[in-house]
Symmetry: C2
Subunit: 78 residues, 2 copies
């Protein structure tokens, strides 16, 4: 089976979507972290693609934005 051309871009797509949703809702990294129940620096490290975030935390962030985890990992053209 061949490798997906999107391989190892998941962190980048997630980062892009979190930043976009966060800015649309005029939330700071700290405000988002508070809503999700994570440390402020955690959101920063996810947005810098430094963190190998887990599925549970992806789901928590998606929940705060009222979107699905699948949406948060998707190439959403908007």
């Amino acid at each position: 089976m061949k490798q997906d051309k999107n391989y190892l871009t998941a962190r980048k797509i997630l980062s892009h979507n979190i930043k976009r949703l966060r800015e649309e809702r005029e939330l700071s990294q700290e405000s988002l972290a508070d809503l999700v129940g994570l440390h402020r620096t955690y959101i920063g490290s996810v947005e810098r693609c430094e963190r190998n975030i887990s599925i549970d935390n992806i789901e928590r962030i998606a929940s705060v934005f009222d979107v699905s985890p699948s949406f948060l990992l998707g190439n959403n053209n908007k």
Copy 2:
């Protein structure tokens, strides 16, 4: 902001999709684990929703199936 109704179902959706794709391709958990480069018991624990899998491993599994991480976390009606 309200909680997403899908909250905390991401592990279940992922498990369902991995099992479906694995069985469609007639792969054992062990064969899939070999293709992904993970231990055999790891795939089993993900399919039992026991493991808080990371984004990098979601992406590795998606890559073996030639689907996107977003697809692997999606409610795909097929």
